[in-house]
Symmetry: D2
Subunit: 242 residues, 4 copies
């Protein structure tokens, strides 16, 4: 069964920062989309400045797995849209939150915490080494024991999230920090995956290991038998055993 | 060190339903407060219809552990108050959510899910047997292997919460259902405890085991060294090891 | 890819108790095997009294998922065989432990606890109602919100296991107990599933919901990319970043 | 109530390696004991070469919290002693496993996995930076956001343990690795804490932050109301609700 993937990208950096446009001439969502080629996914791309902020009900309802990249315009995302996305996740839609999406409305809404972390941006970036701590998890399939992102923005602990249901990746930064960079969560009937690397001024979404992780995460967060319905508040009138 | 406890009770049933007022003539918060006598807590009581919905900033900031009972007026609680409570919990304040508080704004906010469940209310109530599944947890101190609530409202699975960090109690209902009736969660620096029994038309808060659980939960959710500050989003300028 | 399933059954009750032989004329492993028909699994059956206690190295090494039913002869299972099974699980083989297998050497070995529980056997059995608490988990696929086992042996809390990585099913017993009857664990690269119902004197393995759960659990515990190798103690000579 | 602490140390390095004896002239258990001074603990020291391998029943039964340091003689520890320690932990005794104790019989027994990890020993050691990821946990009380161990042996991921019930510390190593260096587990009624730093050729137990962690861990693993009895396999004859 074909998986319907929607890649949502805020899309503002590409408009206003020429160095981002140079690295991602087809925008970040385009680069992510290119990395999914040949996997048989049905892919849609959406941006904040599209009609209905890129996610009209028809699109959202047809999405099996939603990818989310946002950074400088989190506050512009409408609360009613966030309500609808949350409802879809609780009903079984997969959600993959990338990098600075840790502060997006949808992620903090689903986590219940502020998702703060420590961070450092150096113009030239710094080395991030991503270690696999759950090598038999489906999202780690095909990965070496670790891989490196030569230029990355540092995201470090403490990362204010609930304890993940699965901890997949731990990152090491040359400057001296560590980070839970791959975390999976179950909320309602939906699966959520957060992945750290992905700063807009470095070509991280061209990295084949990062691409592999996103592909695996799409397959894992898509759940064939999730009903699409949230768990009801259910009035049971029938105490059949009293 | 004295623990400052604030018992927040919606307080509407007691005004409009005479049978509730008969069971709880001093309101539900009064009954809960009476059950805490002799424990050395410093107790405040607060209601939705009090000034500032019972929780002016000064009160909230002086609270170590907040108890929450609400049911028919969840929607009246102001969003800004919920923001402030959430911030306090993430900074280390304890929170104990009782019975129908599962649908309160503050609980669903902190959980990220809708916290739906199945339920059944019989005029005469039905037997609930509460089993201790984590007997060495501090909240279970002094309890027998199980105890019974002769008249209870049924709350049953599926209960749409994130997997609890600690599962303490499982309830059996005569009518045929089960429920994760005692669940603990860590969010930010704060500890949260949800406890199921507590329907307004039965004298559940007079039960000594229920009182023991609330006392234990107050001690456990109060954390002496929690700083009262949320985890910051922390800009680290200093890569000292590069 | 075909999944190679080995159903291991102690096989003693069927020899010495005629009422068990009457319910399971082809033994318990035969009944379980019949319930897997048409799923495309490659199935082997093994018993304690077979050569090499039914699990010569060749068989074990070719097994993707091992099912384990034992009760009165746990102590006869050889420690070296248990070593080999543990090693295979840590290397990625799936393990499904059924009913009284909670006290088997392999399960207590993998859990690290004694796996004690409370129990009650009535000649006529008693009603067990199995509730699904994780409806979107792959092992719950195709199940109704709950199903009933009309005649069951009571297994109840407290169940002395580590907190499961996934809690799938909770059972209600007519006599007044509850039980975490469906629990999943990750150990090393292997997935483990414990399922409670399955007493030898009742026709539980003929129940279509029980059969569905076992089929789903086989698919879930089989992990296509698990390497079959345990995680090494790995000497890294190369501090490439110092 | 005074906490009775027993510090068990294999004690072999100090006998045969003069450089270890130079750093720890009163042995490792002596150095750990010195770090606990003034806390009001009642402390006993024990070594593998003592009578009954240092842990006669009388000593073990009077121990609230057992610390364990071992390395080159894990196999010499008697299986019956390991049985007794496991039984005590499941009954509520606290256990703190230090550094190379990850491969001790008692730790692998309680975990159910082989507890393998990656490692590198450099003669001069290498910098380990220990990050606090659960700052409000009692074991983290009084710690800064991170601290450094200037000379350490690298222990790195993947670390083959079950998912910890609490993840407290993550270590960064200058050579490029990360490690879950502070992990807490509940098994039966007992609490277990594993802490990574502690190589015998470096003066790590003189570090005040390491001492603080051990002190905190002793208080946390000691549980006032744990009964000292394991959870029974409990025959319940009385189905009072059928």
């Amino acid at each position: 069964m074909t998986i319907c993937v929607t890649i949502w990208n805020e899309g503002r950096h590409e408009k206003i920062h020429s160095e981002v446009a140079a690295i991602y001439p087809d925008r970040i969502d385009g680069a992510i989309s290119a990395g999914l080629a040949g996997e048989g996914f049905e892919i849609q791309r959406a941006c904040l400045d599209d009609i209905d902020q890129g996610l009209p009900t028809k699109t959202l309802d047809a999405t099996d797995v939603l990818l989310w990249w946002g950074h400088i315009a989190h506050e512009e995302v409408g609360d009613q849209l966030v309500d609808r996305i949350q409802s879809r996740v609780l009903g079984g839609m997969g959600l993959i939150v990338l990098h600075s999406g840790h502060h997006s409305k949808i992620f903090t809404r689903l986590m219940g915490t502020n998702c703060n972390l420590s961070w450092r941006e150096l113009p030239e970036g710094e080395l991030e080494r991503v270690w696999v701590v759950a090598p038999s998890h489906p999202i780690a399939e095909g990965l070496p024991p670790y891989f490196e992102v030569p230029q990355s923005e540092m995201y470090g602990e403490p990362f204010d999230i609930p304890t993940p249901d699965d901890l997949l990746f731990l990152s090491w930064f040359k400057g001296g920090e560590v980070f839970r960079s791959g975390c999976a969560f179950q909320r309602g009937r939906g699966r959520i995956f957060y992945f750290g690397p992905g700063h807009e001024t470095f070509p991280i979404y061209h990295n084949i290991h990062v691409q592999r992780i996103i592909i695996n995460a799409i397959r894992w967060t898509k759940q064939p038998h999730a009903s699409g319905r949230i768990l009801e508040n259910w009035h049971r009138a029938d105490p059949i055993h009293i």
